[in-house]
């Protein structure tokens, strides 16, 4: 009993001695170094294996990293890559942006007014359950082969994950907080502004995360189906002419774009809703 008491007292005494801090820091630094070594090694191994295997295979079926790098330089030089990238980016920004702007208010109205809920619930479920790819030819029939059509396809891929997440968020508002708002005689506007919207933010951010990935899928599909613009078209063109190395270049650019988009949404999630990633303290 006595020993455990004295142990406790020592454990709770102020800052640890400098040699403990130093040891801990060194341990952490060496772990950090090891982590990066493993990462770099893993990339190197894959690249080397790819290169070794790639040069032996028929260049129509596969391409080694060096050939892809060469194609990359060539495509940057002649400007095809940059113009395709900008075309794609514009479609993505317009489609995804419109989806964000439309879906969030729509979801909040849907969640807060029961008659709206009864009216649209089954439609949303039905459309969400449909693989959107199946509707792409129909959208093209309606909206043509141009920019509008591509933006609408991206929009429809991004819209539903955003809508459903924002709806979930507005539905899961803490009832006590709604009661707080009511007891302070809030007008409906204030209930939205101070309770419903902020409590939906973590859900909206999760939706944005999903929508970012979906919108890229929509983008590439749209560019496959419509006339010759964007990264998707570059992929198609290179594949049709059996220039496999050139095909890998836009694929990698799209991959990087996707990773960057996810990074942005994660960053936003932490910035906009710092409370949501914290464990509840009781």
């Amino acid at each position: 009993m006595a020993t455990s008491l004295s142990l406790e007292r020592r454990a709770s005494s102020s800052a640890p001695p400098p040699e403990v801090v130093e040891r801990e820091r060194r341990r952490r630094r060496s772990r950090h170094r090891l982590m990066w070594t493993v990462r770099v090694l893993s990339v190197a191994v894959v690249l080397v294996a790819w290169q070794v295997y790639g040069v032996r295979v028929n260049p129509i079926l596969f391409a080694p990293p060096t050939a892809i790098a060469e194609a990359f330089v060539a495509m940057v030089r002649d400007g095809t890559l940059l113009s395709a990238f900008l075309q794609s980016l514009l479609v993505l920004v317009v489609g995804l942006g419109a989806a964000i702007v439309v879906s969030i208010p729509a979801a909040l109205v849907w969640a807060r007014y029961d008659p709206v809920d009864w009216a649209v619930q089954h439609y949303v479920n039905a459309i969400y359950a449909t693989p959107l790819v199946a509707l792409v030819p129909l959208l093209i029939l309606w909206f043509g082969l141009g920019f509008l059509s591509r933006a609408i396809i991206v929009f429809s891929f991004a819209f539903f994950p955003l809508l459903l997440n924002a709806y979930q968020g507005a539905k899961s508002v803490d009832r006590e907080l709604l009661e707080v708002a009511r007891s302070f005689r809030c007008r409906e506007y204030h209930v939205w502004r101070h309770v419903v919207l902020p409590s939906s933010v973590p859900f909206i951010m999760a939706g944005l995360n999903l929508a970012a990935g979906r919108s890229l899928v929509g983008l590439i599909i749209a560019e496959f189906y419509t006339t010759g613009t964007g990264l998707g078209y570059l992929v198609l063109q290179a594949a049709n002419t059996f220039r496999t190395a050139r095909m890998f270049v836009p694929v990698i650019v799209v991959m990087v774009l996707g990773v960057a988009l996810l990074g942005v949404t994660r960053y936003l999630q932490r910035r906009v809703a710092p409370w949501s990633s914290q464990p509840e303290r009781q």
């Binding site: 006590e176 009511r182 007891s183 302070f184 809030c186 409590s199 409370w275 914290q278 464990p279 509840e280």
Partner: protein
């Protein structure tokens, strides 16, 4: 003189389950009234009805002489779970009632720090609720309610979820504030000691369906502090009477 709050023959059912059964209760202007009763008896329901957050099926509740139909003006509530918005800082939470009441920026800027100081939260304004202790969250909830300068303050077991030592500190803080402001308070608790320490009158309710079983006046002089009340010669006697009434309420007229 009008009562700050009066319940006349109030009854309420939830899906055929009788929760409030002919409740009569009067809270004089400037009095601190505590309601105790077995858990699940309908205390929260009665308080929510006073706050206009839920309707009653029979009888009438009046605040400041006017029948309650929806949240009345001049009433503020302190919630059991503190009811702070996780996305607002302590400062913005305390300002909430003033902001939605459309008070001027200047007035808010003057009022909020005053009430933050009153509940001893100075220095914590910029923190979020998840960053402070449960006791501090309850203080912020109290400051938010006081900041709108209500004439009636409704408190639903505000200290039930904080530890015993913090609770004593909070009692003393609440006593200090109340003895200066003299708001009419209806305070719900299931702790006899808390009821005696804080209030002028203890209302004992029966188990569900809740009726008022008895009133006990706490004639211990103010200013009070937790320790002086507990050491007061009348304390044991009052406690005994509360306990008896509560026992009666628990077991009385079993069906």
């Amino acid at each position: 003189m009008t009562a700050a709050c009066e319940c006349r023959d109030v009854s309420k059912w939830f899906d055929g389950l009788s929760v409030l059964d002919h409740v009569d209760l009067e809270v004089p202007e400037g009095a601190f009234v505590t309601i105790i009763g077995p858990s699940g008896c309908g205390k929260t329901t009665l308080l929510r009805a006073m706050a206009g957050l839920t309707g009653v099926d029979a009888g009438e509740i009046k605040i400041g002489g006017r029948t309650v139909m929806g949240p009345p003006e001049g009433v503020a509530m302190v919630f059991q779970g503190s009811g702070l918005m996780p996305w607002k800082t302590i400062y913005d939470n305390v300002a909430f009632g003033l902001v939605v009441a459309g008070r001027s920026r200047r007035e808010i800027g003057q009022t909020v720090p005053r009430f933050i100081e009153k509940v001893n939260l100075t220095g914590y304004e910029r923190l979020y609720p998840y960053q402070v202790s449960g006791g501090m969250r309850q203080r912020a909830g109290l400051a938010r309610a006081l900041a709108v300068d209500p004439s009636v303050l409704l408190m639903d077991e505000p200290f039930a979820s904080v530890d015993a030592q913090t609770r004593e500190v909070l009692h003393d803080e609440l006593l200090t504030i109340w003895e200066r402001e003299r708001k009419s308070v209806v305070f719900v608790t299931h702790s006899i000691d808390e009821a005696i320490v804080l209030s002028d009158v203890v209302v004992v309710m029966s188990r569900r369906p809740a009726r008022v079983t008895g009133l006990i006046e706490v004639d211990i002089p103010r200013p009070r502090r937790e320790r002086t009340v507990r050491g007061h010669p009348r304390y044991a006697d009052i406690r005994e009477r509360c306990w008896e009434l509560l026992e009666e309420a628990r077991h009385g007229d079993q069906p």
